[in-house]
Symmetry: C2
């Protein structure tokens, strides 16, 4: 049985990174709670939104992300039970490609290159389960779709939701 | 209708690049005909095979490839008729990722990031047509599989074969 797992906001904490970089740059104290329910860039004053939207183009942004809590041990176990693939819509940010590869080498070395997919549209994925934080990625998937909770998607409906990696473990292990 | 097209030896001429780099390095006159029916590295003396096999790890190798004859105009036309995706098993060579993205920007700018897939196993592709030079990529594909002729695959059987991009145009346009 095959299982696709997204990277950003599912195993790699981009949401928190946006807040941290914003706070450093503007000497602010923006919190997760301030942003909850929004994209981070929408939770800052208009004149600073372009700066937050540009984080993903910054060298090192994707290399320095922290893994989402419990993702490492749970993926390790999942990889023993499923054909586990990482599927990230990375092609929009060419500089992220090598960084994502190196990041996976560091935090998820048990997922080898044959099981890594950097793509655009995820309509092209054929498999059994997809875990993603974006409804538009889940919509066209033929198998079981799990929406992984992120600050920006708490108001999305219509998908089976998982809030944490321990919840994923409960469902899939 | 969706159409996946491989990169190396289908739209990007790795086969010729291996020969050219080998000839430069060893002051030889290896020709396409000398290699035909083989992987290039198998057509050189044993002591030099490791060198040829290492080309793909060399910075710039994938960025400097020449497009395969007629691939540009035919893909341009195909992209107007099909949902055309590039699907390359690039994850084995992390340094190739950015180079492949930049190479596509240069030679196939009409294929945007949403339609680019850098992956490992191609078993995960869901679509209608796959054009690839490797039997093991075509074997697990559910749709129509076209084997694009390359020096290394001329003895492969069992797949619908296309020898040139003009032949592809005849079949698909």
């Amino acid at each position: 049985m095959s299982l696709f797992i997204d990277m950003d906001e599912v195993i790699a904490d981009t949401y928190y990174a946006h807040i941290e970089i914003y706070n450093n740059e503007f000497q602010e104290n923006l919190t997760l709670e301030d942003c909850w329910g929004n994209e981070v860039w929408k939770a800052v004053p208009e004149g600073r939104q372009a700066s937050v939207r540009n984080h993903a183009n910054t060298i090192g942004f994707f290399r320095d992300l922290k893994p989402i809590k419990d993702s490492q041990p749970v993926l390790k176990e999942l990889s023993q039970k499923y054909e586990l693939y990482i599927a990230s819509a990375a092609m929009q940010f060419p500089n992220s490609l090598l960084e994502k590869s190196e990041w996976l080498d560091e935090y998820f070395p048990f997922i080898d290159w044959k099981k890594r997919i950097l793509c655009g549209d995820k309509h092209i994925l054929k498999g059994d389960i997809l875990i993603d934080d974006r409804s538009y990625n889940l919509e066209h998937f033929d198998g079981r779709s799990l929406l992984f909770t992120s600050g920006h998607n708490i108001h999305s409906n219509g998908f089976e939701r998982v809030n944490t990696w321990l919840e994923v473990a409960d469902k899939l292990l």
